[in-house]
């Protein structure tokens, strides 16, 4: 876990009888874009709130850059949670200046930030007239105040049109590649995460179910889908890693070179094999597999 910008150790959060996080252990490595995935209620936003010190964990701890979360270490972090909210009577420029002043950054380049997120033309408009997409852009601009080392973006493309989504995807990569910041991105859009993230973690019921470089997780995800009868006996022969896929098929995570031998073993055992094909690893499949949905 050395070099992690965020390290969560057995973090739990309970709201009365509801458990939002149930002992989460997670490390976000420095650099690149880290995708945080999970179904609704998995605890993603709660975790991000804890990282930003908006919510205190019931137990466990979160370290930022190796130190406990406090106002000083948070000066190295920028971010927004869920739909960003603003003081409605301020303009976009005033919003950035007010946040910058609170953060002790007197010389923030508000115009430059607004230009970067594509809001230059709305710089002097009051925020209460902004669309959701414009608010998302302004939220990202606020997150970038002070050139933070860690940028936390919660569903940053919500409410955006397709062109806006493309802009934000490019911007997120740019923050990581050009600015050298680590981006922690929470999203429901699996395709989006697969396109722009280097690492991914999947949460479910407040726990981490898988985490790692996205290339590793997907690269090792090619599986042979075999429809056979009886399927229980086929799974038994395929080994412990094989899993049922529907009522009459299984997924076997094996090397391509081992496929003929497995099929031969099944046929030799008197199992009727009606179909065998390779299923490519993708984030959607990984997500549904790991979250059991």
């Amino acid at each position: 876990m050395t070099g992690a910008v965020i390290e969560a150790r057995s973090v739990a959060k309970r709201y009365g009888a509801v458990t939002a996080l149930a002992g989460l252990d997670l490390a976000v490595p420095r650099g690149g874009v880290f995708g945080l995935l999970g179904p609704n209620g998995a605890g993603k936003s709660t975790f991000l709130r804890i990282v930003l010190d908006l919510v205190r964990p019931s137990s466990g701890e979160v370290l930022l850059f190796g130190a406990p979360v406090d106002a000083r270490v948070l000066r190295r972090v920028g971010g927004f949670i869920e739909a960003p909210r603003f003081h409605p009577y301020l303009t976009a420029t005033q919003t950035l200046r007010s946040v910058a002043l609170t953060a002790g950054i007197a010389d923030a380049d508000a115009e430059g930030l607004l230009d970067r997120v594509g809001l230059s033309e709305a710089a002097n408009r009051r925020v209460d007239g902004f669309s959701l997409g414009m608010k998302q852009r302004l939220g990202i601009a606020c997150a970038l105040i002070g050139a933070p080392e860690l940028v936390i973006l919660d569903e940053p493309t919500n409410g955006m049109d397709p062109a806006g989504i493309q802009d934000i995807r490019r911007l997120v990569r740019d923050i990581a590649d050009r600015d050298g910041a680590t981006v922690l991105l929470s999203s429901h859009l699996l395709d989006e995460v697969q396109r722009i993230c280097d690492h991914v973690a999947i949460l479910d019921h407040g726990r981490l179910v898988t985490s790692g470089p996205i290339a590793d997780l997907l690269g090792s995800g090619d599986r042979l889908r075999i429809a056979a009868t009886p399927i229980a006996r086929a799974i038994e022969i395929a080994g412990a890693d094989a899993r049922a896929d529907g009522e009459d098929a299984m997924l076997a995570p094996i090397a391509r070179a081992d496929a003929p031998a497995l099929i031969a073993a099944l046929v030799g055992a008197g199992i009727a094999v009606s179909e065998a094909r390779w299923v490519r690893g993708d984030l959607e499949r990984l997500f549904f597999e790991r979250t059991g949905q």
């Binding site: 709201y15 709660t46 709130r49 930003l52 010190d53 908006l54 919510v55 205190r56 406090d70 106002a71 948070l74 000066r75 972090v77 971010g79 927004f80 949670i81 960003p84 909210r85 603003f86 003081h87 409605p88 009577y89 301020l90 005033q94 919003t95 200046r97 007010s98 946040v99 910058a100 002043l101 609170t102 953060a103 002790g104 606020c142």
Partner: protein, 267 residues
């Protein structure tokens, strides 16, 4: 340093919300101006009891008693509570919360409130001076700027500080209420009802005399603190001021502790 930054951000936001500034801090001086001029010009000008001189200091010191008036306090309480409650209403804590210490964020709001209240009280003094000047012109009566034996600038400053201390206690109560209930009404109404209750108690009941009474009733502590400016005891004035500062300290500390332990789960 971080507190100064929090104050800077808070002041920046507050100054760009003129509607809130007007209702909370400008309405009381404006009310005093309108009614002061009305009374001076419409009533006293025809009175056979026109005083030989007009003493603006005495008038201003008396007007600063507005700091203890429940109706005026309602507006100041709304101003204090709004600074906090609007962050919940607009869910904007999530924007500024991670940018500074929670202690500083509440203290900054309190400081900005105090600055606005101080200016509002100064405006009350200014409108009294203005009213006295206009009344003097209208009646042809000389205006006595610190006549011998009457109150002067020092007395005015003490009365102003006492009223500010009283508003500090009120604002701290409103902010603590707003943090606890996450709402404007939850902040302003308890402060207003507390102020009203004190006034009624002072008017109709006989609470214990002296220092005990001041401990219970900030409005009485305010009267004691202002009393020196009107010829009262210096000891009582000091005790009253100390009580007000204690009230303010305890209440703002309560607001800070509540806020520091609070989950900003929706905000």
């Amino acid at each position: 340093m971080m507190l100064a930054q929090a104050i800077s951000g808070e002041a920046y936001r507050a100054l760009r919300n003129p509607r809130a500034l007007f209702w909370a801090y400008a309405l009381v001086p404006l009310f005093i101006l309108i009614f002061g001029l009305g009374i001076e010009l419409a009533v006293r000008i025809d009175s056979k009891m026109v005083p030989p001189t007009i003493e603006p200091f005495r008038l201003a010191i008396r007007s600063l008693g507005a700091g203890g008036n429940p109706i005026a306090q309602l507006f100041y309480a709304i101003g204090a509570a709004a600074l906090v409650a609007n962050e919940y209403r607009w869910e904007s804590w999530r924007l500024i919360g991670p940018r500074n210490r929670r202690l500083n964020l509440i203290l900054a709001k309190f400081m900005v409130y105090l600055a606005c209240a101080a200016l509002s009280l100064a405006a009350i003094v200014a409108v009294e001076f203005f009213s006295a000047f206009v009344a003097g012109l209208a009646k042809g009566t000389p205006v006595a700027w610190n006549v011998d034996g009457g109150p002067g600038w020092a007395a005015l400053a003490v009365a102003w500080a006492a009223s500010l201390a009283e508003l500090a206690a009120l604002g701290a109560l409103a902010m603590a209420g707003a943090v606890a209930t996450r709402s404007l009404l939850g902040g302003a109404m308890p402060a207003f009802l507390f102020a009203l209750g004190q006034s009624l108690l002072l008017a109709f009941a006989q609470p214990p005399a002296g220092i005990n009474r001041a401990i219970l009733l900030p409005v009485h502590a305010g009267d004691m603190a202002r009393g020196w400016a009107q010829g009262g005891s210096g000891g009582d004035a000091l005790a009253g001021a100390a009580m007000l500062l204690c009230w303010a300290f305890v209440l703002i500390a309560t607001a800070i502790i509540l806020f520091s332990r609070q989950d900003l789960s929706r905000e």
